[in-house]
């Protein structure tokens, strides 16, 4: 064994796998005809995608007046959905980048799918600021380029412009990181394929051979991309929170927003990873690679970030009271007990109370509890963004303009439609590329496979003695 293995390390690959088994198990979903479950899921999600397309065309054709948003509550479901989706994206980068820097081996089982999820979630998020502009054909105005306006440049002081840069950088860097990681695995698929599929994968695997020098550069590139993606992911949600925090609206104008948003993003992202992984491991039969230990580790992250978010909610309330500033106090009183009280309590229950169940090891390691609570957390995090946006705007400085907001069918279709977009992309991904990083799982086999550590450790001794015999022969 090349690396020392601690006896307390978890088994991360079950079923006494060989390297060949790993290729076989992880490539086979892309090689077989789609299962019945996949076809049903794909039909449903593409139907939702169709609904989304219809709602977008409706919005652009008829105008933003088709939404429930009004002059008081001018950011409504659109920005709520935007922040929600962008937050979901953050878990992928956290798993692939931050856990790589921390050398957490369990990331290998879920990183590929989580990164894909990041890219698809950012794509969903990016839809909302665009359609929210109303006149989509003027969207190019957000980019700084010499133009007929003078050239009058964009306002580089504005957090909304920082968002343009942050999100487009985040999307493109995530895409590079994900695809570069995928190239060796696409080469594995290529070398197993025949005919037309082989031709396609030859194109997509960029001529990867597995040369030692290429691996060395590949690892160097992955490490640096992880290193720069880590502050990048923190900056993205920080800048999203600046959209609110740099305004002068009581309830938004708080310095706690950046860390609070980042923790919330990781929290909701992990919940979405759990939702997806629990289904994916079952449908694609990947239980040996995405084990209960993986689920357990992710649930620990959920309970940590959920608690951070809870502390942030309470800190906000305390600071509002402690500030002695009546507008701030009113904003928070209104947030908790105002017209949208139900969304505040929904948020508190889903985000702060429910994840506390994960302190129990039994619940952390239960598939059903994990699935159920991950949905609850996703709902809770959506409520959080709704609470921040709608409750704050509904009761502004002028009582004469106080208002209430409820969504129209167009906004509901846009939101559920992006869920369709997300799942359609994810389902296509599971068909064309290995969902688990093949090469990275092989690289940890000897330190995390169940024939080497854990209750089956006896085999490890056998293996060790076999290889030492071999070496003696040499």
């Amino acid at each position: 064994m090349s690396q020392p293995v601690s006896p307390v390390r978890h088994v991360l690959i079950e079923g006494n796998k060989t390297y060949h088994n790993i290729s076989e198990d992880l490539c086979s979903p892309t090689e077989k005809a789609p299962s019945k479950e996949w076809i049903i899921a794909f039909t449903l999600s593409s139907a939702l995608l169709g609904l989304y397309t219809f709602a977008v065309i409706w919005t652009i054709w008829k105008g933003i007046g088709e939404w429930g948003a009004n002059r008081t509550i001018n950011w409504a479901w659109d920005i709520t959905n935007f922040v929600w989706w962008i937050g979901i994206g953050h878990a992928g980068t956290l798993i692939s980048a931050i856990l790589l820097l921390f050398r957490q081996r369990w990331r290998t089982g879920v990183n590929r799918a989580a990164e894909a999820m990041t890219i698809f979630a950012v794509m969903c998020a990016g839809q909302f600021p665009l359609i929210h502009m109303g006149r989509l054909w003027l969207a190019f105005f957000i980019f700084p380029f010499p133009n007929t306006r003078g050239p009058l440049w964009v306002n580089f002081n504005s957090p909304l412009l920082w968002d343009v840069f942050a999100i487009s950088t985040y999307f493109s860097v995530s895409l590079l990181f994900w695809y570069t990681g995928l190239v060796p695995d696409l080469a594995t698929v290529r070398d197993r394929a025949v005919g037309f599929r082989k031709k396609m994968y030859e194109k997509f695997s960029f001529g990867w051979t597995g040369s030692a020098k290429h691996w060395q550069r590949w690892e160097s590139l992955s490490l640096i991309l992880a290193g720069i993606s880590t502050p990048l992911v923190l900056s993205v949600h920080t800048i999203v929170s600046f959209d609110f925090a740099t305004s002068v609206i009581p309830g938004w104008h708080t310095t706690i927003f950046p860390p609070y948003f980042v923790a919330g993003a990781i929290f909701s992202g992990f919940a979405m990873v759990q939702t997806l992984m629990v289904i994916t491991r079952k449908v694609l039969k990947l239980e040996d690679y995405i084990t209960i230990n993986h689920i357990d580790s992710m649930n620990k992250v959920i309970v940590l970030t959920g608690t951070i978010v809870g502390v942030a909610y309470l800190t906000e309330l305390f600071i509002a009271w402690y500030s002695g500033y009546i507008y701030e106090q009113f904003a928070f009183y209104n947030r908790v007990f105002g017209v949208y009280w139900w969304s505040y309590f929904g948020m508190m229950f889903c985000n702060v109370v429910s994840p506390q169940l994960f302190w129990s090891r039994k619940i952390r390691r239960s598939i059903w509890w994990t699935f159920f609570l991950s949905i609850v957390v996703n709902i809770g995090m959506w409520f959080e963004r709704f609470v921040i946006i709608a409750t704050t705007l509904a009761r502004d400085y002028l009582p004469s303009s106080w208002s209430y907001y409820s969504p129209t069918w167009v906004e509901i279709s846009l939101f559920t439609g992006t869920i369709g977009l997300f799942f359609t992309l994810f389902l296509i991904f599971t068909r064309v590329a290995p969902v688990v990083a093949i090469a990275e799982v092989k690289a940890i086999l000897k330190v995390a496979g169940d024939q080497f550590i854990g209750p089956n450790a006896k085999k490890a001794h056998e293996h060790a003695s076999q290889s030492s015999e071999k070496q003696e022969k040499h």
Partner: protein
């Protein structure tokens, strides 16, 4: 392409530990290894093989520095020189406001620059034709390849002896 075809003698090993000890003994007997191909990054292989550390990260730093300079410089030029604009009574050259975009441009340039460099120096691009010695190298075989185009019979049999001595599971000759 004008390059003549190469004759390659390669051995396949079943385990990365076998591969590493084989590479060690090949280096000891001064055999000229053409390439070592593995299904995953084998840690500890680079020093045995005598590969120097990749300098990609130095380039990453340079690309990042270019991005930072470009981003900051462009914003300063646009808002303070080309069309001086006063936003909310703030100075024409609001340096703190430039930090987020400067940071994003640093990351953007570093990531794209490094990735493009990586693919270029590895000779990889969409649709590049890989010279595949064996389909199982991306699956579970660890390969050492020797270029024997201009080798004499004696050297080739010496290499074959090396493969059988170091426990290669298969030895093949292929023209690529």
């Amino acid at each position: 392409m004008a390059a003549a075809s190469k004759k390659v003698l390669y051995g396949l090993y079943n385990d990365e530990e076998d591969l590493k000890s084989a590479v060690k003994s090949a280096r000891k007997s001064h055999l000229d290894i053409m390439d070592v191909l593995t299904p995953f990054p084998v840690h500890g292989l680079d020093p045995i093989l005598g590969l120097s550390e990749s300098r990609l990260h130095i380039l990453g730093f340079i690309y990042g520095a270019i991005g930072a300079t470009f981003g900051f410089g462009f914003m300063s030029w646009a808002l303070a020189r080309d069309w001086p604009t006063m936003f909310g009574g703030k100075p024409y050259w609001p340096v703190p406001s430039f930090i987020p975009i400067t940071f994003e441009m640093t990351v953007l340039f570093a990531a794209w620059g490094m990735t493009i460099t990586f693919y270029t120096i590895c000779g990889m691009w969409p649709g590049a034709q890989a010279t595949i010695l064996d389909n199982r190298i991306t699956d579970d075989k660890f390969c050492i390849a020797f270029d024997v185009t201009n080798s004499e019979e004696k050297d080739v049999s010496g290499l074959q002896a090396f493969f059988s001595k170091t426990g290669a599971a298969e030895v093949n000759l292929k023209t690529i």
